[in-house]
């Protein structure tokens, strides 16, 4: 078992609200990804879930029971840019096992097995100054998995990894999941990782859950004015037409499903029409995400048939169009 839940959680630093989550649950055995910009509150959320910080308001529950300090031993967090504790890789792999009361040969055996499994055997006697950032990240993940936690929390686990290292990390996680039940919650600003690996994706923006899919989220400053008039909001070099009563700092979201893709401009009611270069095409469970550089990066979700018929390929010129009413501001 390892179901985590936040209820009516509001968290503040020096009086500033950084997280506002009326409800947030990670089901037992779930593979949840939290995506969002830097500063959106992902790391804070993971620290609350890891029971390393107590929320200013609200509760954290583990398997339906209000979590306490003892519950911390069932949840392990691998931080973004993890640190090595004093000592060698061997000492680090042994740290949590010893803290949990394992002794002597039991620890030695577990450390050996973990090192073998994660390809860390050649590094066992190295100190932290003899490791690269990527190696430290691998050690940190192995150090957490050695404890066989019920819940594993990973904060930007591929931030210092190249594609091969990221692939190897996800393979290691998957092989662990094939052997035993474990809840995994991963925070990332890389949507590709989230889509490829998680079975549930939540978007976080300014400490709140986004009501729409996580692509095309931007921090903006909305000009004042009534909600029934189209406003033009600056996002990088673009001006995006929106219909909103809000003004001031906000998050602007363009649902990828609402973006119409064409190879040439078409006459339509869409108030937002941008032309740019297609940068990549990625598969996401049936849908295809087409990413284009319009001065900012925009993503459109289309069908595989549309990609074929339009002859979409990286480098091609594409036109994205979407209605002002489709743009969400929150």
């Amino acid at each position: 078992m390892g179901a985590l839940e936040l209820r009516q959680v509001r968290h503040r630093y020096d009086g500033r609200l950084v997280l506002d989550l009326p409800s947030f649950a990670v089901p037992d055995g779930g593979k949840v990804a939290i995506v969002g910009h830097n500063g959106s509150g992902k790391s804070t959320l993971l620290r609350l879930l890891a029971l390393l910080e107590r929320p200013t308001e609200g509760q954290v529950l583990l398997d339906g029971v209000v979590a306490n300090v003892q519950s911390r031993r069932r949840v392990t967090l691998v931080e973004q840019r993890p640190v090595m504790l004093p000592g060698t890789v061997r000492d680090n792999l042994a740290y949590g096992l010893a803290a949990r009361g394992s002794r002597g040969t039991e620890v030695t055996r577990a450390v050996g097995a973990t090192a073998e499994r994660h390809g860390l055997s050649p590094l066992l006697d190295r100190g932290r100054h003899e490791l690269s950032e990527g190696e430290i990240q691998r050690v940190a993940v192995a150090r957490a998995l050695a404890l066989k936690p019920d819940v594993l929390l990973l904060d930007e686990p591929t931030s210092s990894a190249d594609r091969a290292a990221a692939q190897s990390l996800f393979s290691a996680l998957q092989s662990e999941l094939d052997e035993r039940r474990m809840t995994v919650c991963l925070a990332s600003h890389q949507l590709e990782d989230a889509y490829r690996w998680a079975d549930d994706i939540r978007a976080l923006a300014e400490g709140r859950l986004s009501p729409v899919t996580p692509e095309n989220l931007f921090r903006v400053d909305v000009p004042p004015g009534p909600g029934d008039v189209t406003k033009r909001v600056r996002v990088g070099p673009l001006e995006i037409a929106v219909m909103t009563e809000r003004s001031g700092p906000a998050i602007l979201a363009v649902p990828a499903e609402d973006v119409l893709v064409s190879s040439t401009p078409v006459v339509s009611s869409a108030r937002n029409v941008f032309t740019g270069k297609l940068t990549r095409i990625t598969q996401h469970r049936g849908a295809v995400h087409v990413t284009a550089d319009m001065g900012i990066e925009l993503v459109a979700a289309v069908t595989p048939e549309a990609v074929r018929e339009l002859g979409l390929a990286p480098g091609a010129t594409v036109v994205f169009a979407f209605k002002a009413a489709a743009v969400r501001v929150f």
Partner: protein, 234 residues
């Protein structure tokens, strides 16, 4: 200038002849310094950890008090401890006035803010991820603190050095609380003050040399400790 040269000659003669008076005074000083440094660090370092790692109501006030206490005038502390330990004082029953234990109490009060403030700064200098990592790997709060202490070991050795320096060089409180009783509470610093007042410059200088030597040896020992830690895997 002659009196200075005479003083140095007399000092060397006293030191190399193994003068009983000099060594008795040095022994009292060393005993007081060791005990006071131990108790000041035993209380001050955990206080510094709490101030650095825990968020509690009144923490800022506590930090301000500790930092203000760094500048406590030693004679004022001596007077307060004198009042507490005197026969009519609340701690008079201990019978510690004019004893080396009384000087230890005064020195602990003076060195404790140094140990607390400097160790708080040392712990605050450790990457907060170290403590979080220890906790998320299942360490108890105590074990996590030990891990942080290991990370801050060089700075913590400096804390002990600073506390020892305060205690071994202290004169005002030791004079008031200890009374400068020969072979009992006469420390190197109070003996230097007395000998200088009596015009025995050579004896005062000899004691000064011993004081410097003690301070030097302790610092060499602590630096050797740091060096050994440095050679190990960090």
């Amino acid at each position: 200038m002659d009196f200075l040269a005479d003083g140095i000659r007399r000092a060397l003669a006293l030191l190399f002849s193994g003068d009983a008076e000099v060594f008795s005074t040095a022994l009292v000083s060393f005993k007081v310094a060791i005990f006071a440094t131990f108790f000041a660090c035993a209380l001050g370092i955990p206080t510094g950890f709490a101030l650095a790692t825990r968020r509690f109501w009144g923490r800022r006030v506590a930090l301000t008090v500790v930092n203000t206490a760094l500048a406590f005038p030693t004679v004022v502390v001596g007077l307060v401890i004198y009042g507490l330990l005197s026969r009519r004082g609340p701690l008079g029953g201990l019978g510690w006035l004019y004893t080396w234990q009384g000087i230890v109490v005064a020195d602990v009060v003076l060195a404790l803010p140094i140990a607390a403030a400097l160790s708080a700064a040392a712990v605050q200098g450790v990457d907060p991820r170290v403590r979080r990592t220890a906790l998320t790997l299942g360490a108890s709060s105590w074990r996590a603190n030990l891990t942080v202490a290991r990370e801050a070991r060089f700075a913590l050795v400096a804390v002990v050095t600073a506390a020892f320096g305060q205690v071994v060089a202290e004169v005002g409180a030791a004079l008031i609380v200890g009374g400068n009783v020969r072979h009992e509470t006469r420390t190197l610093t109070t003996a230097v003050a007395l000998a200088t007042a009596q015009g025995d410059f050579g004896f005062a200088l000899a004691l000064g040399f011993v004081l410097l030597t003690v301070a030097l040896l302790v610092n060499i020992a602590l630096q050797a400790l740091q060096g050994r830690g440095d050679r190990g895997r960090a």
